[in-house]
């Protein structure tokens, strides 16, 4: 395992700048999650680390060595692709064995079969090893693809939304499993997703990326409680953060320059109210089983927040709202510290 460092890496495709001056260090043994919307440059970043793309400028270092111009086969990385991950002409077993049989490694067959057995049991695909890749379900294919990375002990695991094609239950299981394996191996992982739950639960640190630029890197806690700007704030939190014009909802002192207030569920104090005290009105309540989403209208502004099932609020009820320690953003969308 090794530290991976990108500095000032830029990659353009004709007119598109897919990755723009990216500085990012994944520490040895760290699980770093890149979070960003589609087209943000997440896959391109992984491909740059793997050597499948050449950076237009900047350097990539793995374990202290400059690998910027090295071939993929000499970089010692493992990659789980977003799609098309298995060789369709091979069985699941041969797919898993493929990297170990490479000219660069030539692991003895006995050891190969032992490692595959371990990994297959872990990923619960032991019964499917003799199936052709095309005779596996989407979820099984994805697990074999993950397995193909895990049979190796590379400097870094690069994973491009590996869990996105799995059902919710399997995704939750594998999330834990991957995290456990990573901890046991002390593996360095650079993991791409646009699923905030994955990011929050698996990451040592999260890097938020937009339009090829890294906006903020920090622990999940930091990213959640101290987002650098509106964009980062909207990435995390379920339901999503409410962005309100400053002064719409009563709260303490608003810091100078604040234009937007970012209010998450935990910032709201909501009470049933009538008459002048009623600032907002309940539009409807979404029952999601474990959560109830309360949709509130304050003037023209819509607010979505969680509500206690015992709150006994109903559609049409007037409510009073107050904010406690919300986030403040200036006109440019950058966060301002302080306030009430």
């Amino acid at each position: 395992m090794a530290e991976v460092a990108l500095s000032g890496v830029t990659k353009r495709f004709r007119t598109v700048t897919a990755v723009d001056g990216l500085d990012l260090t994944v520490a040895d043994g760290e699980f770093l999650v890149l979070l960003g919307p589609t087209g943000a440059g997440k896959t391109t970043t992984l491909r740059l680390v793997a050597g499948l793309e050449r950076a237009d400028s900047g350097t990539v270092r793995i374990g202290g060595h400059d690998v910027t111009t090295l071939d993929p086969s000499s970089r010692d990385v493992a990659f789980v692709f977003q799609q098309y991950s298995l060789y369709p002409h091979l069985t699941a077993y041969d797919n898993l064995a493929f990297p170990l049989r490479s000219p660069a490694r030539r692991v003895p067959e006995a050891e190969i079969s032992q490692r595959i057995e371990e990994i297959a049991t872990m990923l619960r695909i032991a019964g499917k090893l003799q199936n052709r890749a095309t005779q596996l379900s989407g979820g099984e294919m994805q697990r074999v693809a993950i397995g193909r990375a895990l049979v190796r002990r590379p400097s870094i695991y690069l994973m491009d939304e590996p869990l996105s094609s799995l059902d919710a239950k399997l995704r939750a299981d594998l999330r834990l499993e991957l995290k456990r394996i990573q901890g046991e191996l002390g593996a360095t992982v650079l993991y791409v997703t646009h699923d905030q739950t994955e990011a929050m639960t698996m990451a040592n640190r999260i890097g938020v990326i937009e339009n090829g630029r890294l906006i903020q890197v920090g622990t999940p806690r930091e990213i959640y409680t101290e987002p650098r700007n509106v964009y980062v704030a909207t990435r995390l939190g379920q339901p999503a953060i409410n962005l309100l014009p400053a002064g719409l909802v009563p709260n303490g002192a608003v810091p100078a320059g604040a234009r937007t207030v970012g209010a998450r569920t935990e910032h709201f104090r909501i009470k049933k109210a009538a008459g002048d005290a009623a600032v907002g009105r309940v539009e409807w309540i979404e029952h999601l089983g474990d959560q109830n989403h309360l949709h509130v209208a304050v003037g023209d502004q819509k607010i979505v927040t969680l509500v206690d099932p015992d709150a006994r609020l109903e559609r049409g009820d007037g409510i009073s709202l107050a904010l406690v320690d919300p986030l403040y953003f200036d006109a440019a969308g950058n966060r301002i510290r302080g306030g009430g």
């Binding site: 499948l52 086969s73 990659f79 692709f81 493929f98 490479s102 193909r148 190796r152």
Partner: protein, 318 residues
């Protein structure tokens, strides 16, 4: 129930009537294509008089005379000379003597057949080999002026090949390639390679790059990844391309007539000469043709699984 539900249903399972009609059409088409072949095979087993009998004979006593005549050269002798010979050793001896002839030696059919095999399979192998690596290069790498080059490659097929036959004839005579197997292999390869590049580029474009990229990351070199990952998945396209190339090279007549007369002559220009001076020996011609059909038939049957998959490429996943 309603007309719409009937229609919707017929998309899934054809109705009895349309099945019958489709079946009948297929049978008619099969008959139309198979009858000439059957006729040729039948003719190869007739005697020369039977082969030109009118009305044509459907029922006849099979004879191997056509095959005897195909494989041998014969000289005419007097009945006295033939009577003085020791008893006939083979069936062919007997058949030939009944026509007042004796076998003088083997004919040229075997060397010609070998020429056909060597030239057709040699040029097919070369065209498919060059076509595969060229198509791979165009498909996967940034080739300067790729579109123009591909168009140029295709443009070599625009002209009817026979238009360049005379210049090629003169050129081959000068450099000593006329009437050589090598010359014919090079020529057919040159004609086929453009087809091969275009067909194979289509197939290789369909193979996602991620497979090779995965192999590169897994520690394989570009060449290894090509052999281990791309070739197996392109097998279908390669087989289909090989059949097209082989059919062209095997059947080619115009160049062969012009550029080969002896040592490198292939079957297509040779077969017409089998008929002999009298112009009566249709069974021998039919026997030559039957022989000529066998290799391409075997090759196509061997690769038919790939051919079918080649046609449905992209439509089915397994």
């Amino acid at each position: 129930m309603s007309a719409t539900s009937d229609q919707a249903h017929s998309v899934v399972a054809p109705s009895g009537a349309s099945k019958t009609i489709a079946g009948a059409l297929v049978i008619v088409y099969a008959l139309v294509t198979i009858i000439p072949l059957v006729w040729i095979v039948m003719t190869s087993f007739k005697t020369p008089p039977d082969s030109i009998a009118y009305p044509p004979k459907l029922i006849f006593t099979p004879s191997i005379e056509g095959y005897c005549n195909l494989f041998t050269t014969r000289t005419r002798q007097t009945p006295e000379y033939i009577a003085a010979l020791p008893p006939a050793e083979t069936e062919c001896d007997r058949v030939v003597r009944s026509r007042n002839m004796v076998i003088a030696g083997p004919s040229n059919v075997i060397p010609r057949f070998i020429n056909s095999i060597v030239i057709a399979f040699g040029s097919t192998f070369l065209a498919v080999f060059l076509g595969t690596i060229t198509a791979y290069g165009f498909s996967r790498f940034k080739v300067p002026l790729a579109d123009d080059l591909l168009f140029f490659i295709l443009s070599t097929r625009f002209m009817p090949p026979i238009a360049v036959a005379i210049p090629i004839y003169l050129m081959y005579r000068t450099i000593g390639l006329s009437d050589t197997q090598l010359g014919m292999i090079l020529l057919y390869t040159a004609v086929n390679v453009s087809l091969a590049v275009w067909l194979l580029k289509g197939f290789i474009d369909e193979i996602p790059r991620e497979y090779e990229e995965a192999a590169l990351i897994d520690g394989y070199s570009r060449l290894h990844a090509f052999v281990k990952v791309v070739l197996p998945q392109a097998a279908t396209g390669i087989a289909a391309t090989a059949i097209f190339c082989l059919i062209f090279a095997w059947n080619e007549y115009a160049f062969a007539v012009l550029l080969t007369s002896g040592t490198a002559q292939t079957m297509p220009p040779f077969i017409p000469f089998i008929i002999g001076e009298g112009g009566q020996d249709w069974p021998a011609v039919a026997a030559g043709t039957t022989l000529f059909l066998i290799p391409i038939f075997v090759f196509t049957v061997l690769l038919r699984k790939h051919l079918l998959r080649g046609i449905t490429f992209g439509a089915v996943r397994k």
